[in-house]
């Protein structure tokens, strides 16, 4: 599966990772190689096979709707690059 540069740039945009022109070219080659290699999965007959969504059979546990945590705003912002009171500060979102 060959991906072109436009696709690489589109994917990088979706992943929110800025890539340089050189990186776009390199990634085009590498991603194409990897995607070509995984294409062999097309050989497998998957008719009537359910996708595996969990490694071990289990039902998701539920818990009582009780408050058991919270009031830890200081911990939550402790590692933030930029804070104001208990708010994370970010660049203006352009309308």
């Amino acid at each position: 599966m060959q991906v072109d540069e436009a696709t690489v740039r589109r994917i990088a945009r979706l992943a929110r990772i800025r890539i340089s022109d050189d990186e776009a070219v390199a990634l085009k080659g590498e991603l194409s190689e990897i995607l070509q290699w995984v294409k062999q999965l097309d050989e497998v007959d998957i008719a009537d096979v359910e996708p595996m969504t969990a490694a071990v059979e289990m039902t998701l546990r539920l818990r009582d709707d009780k408050v058991t945590d919270g009031e830890r705003a200081d911990d939550v912002i402790a590692n933030a690059p930029m804070v104001d009171d208990h708010f994370f500060v970010v660049p203006k979102v352009v309308e």
């Binding site: 929110r16 590498e30 990897i34 999965l41 996708p51 490694a55 590692n79 660049p91």
Partner: protein
Amino acid sequence: MTDPTKLTVAGAREALARKELSAVELTQAFLDAIEAGNAPLNAYVLATPEHALAQAAQSDKRIASGKARDLEGIPLGVKDLFCTKGIRTTACSKILGDFVPPYESTVTQNLWDRGAVMLGKLNNDEFAMGSSNETSAFGPVVNPWRRNKDAGNADADLVPGGSSGGSAAAVAADLCLAATATDTGGSIRQPAAITGTVGIKPTYGRCSRWGTVAFASSLDQAGPISKTLRDAAIMLKAMAGFDPKDSTSVDAPVPDYEKAVGKSVKGLKVGVPREYRKEGMGKEIEELWQQGMDWLKDAGAKITQVSLPHTRYALPAYYIVAPAECSSNLARYDGVRYGLRVPGEDLIGMYENTRAAGFGVEVKRRVLIGTYVLSAGYYDAYYLRAQKVRTLIKRDFDEVFRQVDVLLTPTTPGPAFGIGEQSGDPVQMYLNDVFTVTVNMAGLPGISVPAGMSSEGTPLGLQLIGKAFDEETLFRAGSAIEAAAAGAAGGALPKPDRWWMAAK
């Protein structure tokens, strides 16, 4: 006590109980060894001497008052993928910067609750993505093992494997008694195999993933790397257990794994999957595998050829599923709430610059592959298909485990390779996981046991794969291999020369 760093966990436990040395003395011996010898190996990315000595002092008090817990005073290394409260945790990525978690991972808390001591944080491939520990933001780890002088290239630095390269190197170099690690596609077992240590990845759900930096949520599992099978059993018993904070944690009691160590394998049915015999497989790997079968047969086990028909599709399926899950898990690193922030022209610019500067090349590759295979128009062709192939891989194992109790395979396609030798081609690097990924895809437990030496004088391991939650059989069969391998080597497999300590 001449050199406490040469002890095992079991040995140290006894020595402390017999008051042959104190917990503080034991910890100090390791802190000295790390200070003298870590730099050439780069196994530790952060030593925590004050924290360790404080923990050791507490352990001495407990031992003195007869209240010693299971791992009292035992000095361990912790892979930098486990959040340690108040102590920098980076996943060996620039993007986590100087992140200091305000909470402790469940697995490491389990160890501290039992009296263990933390010597420091260990190096790993960035976000656990790699098979050689060459992608770490802190630089590569060097394998304590070197090739024989006559092997040509004898001075080349070798990789310790990955992603838990720091953990494996530290244990092999006696820079800790044992270490914590994680395994998503082989990251415990592969480094263990090429450093001559024991590494076990338990059944998915056996250990809690809470507080462990997530890579691929349906594949990640924590486990120990240690010098012996007994030590691995002691460590896993401490690390494992139900955790209500992890919705994938299984509520099942943790057996006393130590009891399974050394148990007879008479009558044990061992399967040898024919699809693991690869074309062009190195002769010494084939011979070691045959040797393993003979050892188990001599110990009373029954060897049967079995078939896992979808084996060859496990690696490509893994390289769709794991990147897909990682692209989702790594979306949180955006420069807003923690870690690195690089300014941008606007919010999206900030995200893009932060992630471009913070993620390494391999991480970017996998996030992009993952984003691609999950994107509109491609989801069915790649991700959904890979998840269906995964069901078939699991079904193969379920079928086979109706006939046999455990499977024996090689762990790696070869011994440790040189740093830089395989980093040119991503797919070539991925092939190092060919024998290990199947186990993660099926959610089963797998262990690597040191079994012999390559013609270059470097370690090789054998892998045992078990039924879900049957880690006891892995310890049982693994002990038989450990004992036979030691016997064949004239008493014990060799240890590496301590060249990394030579400078001091």
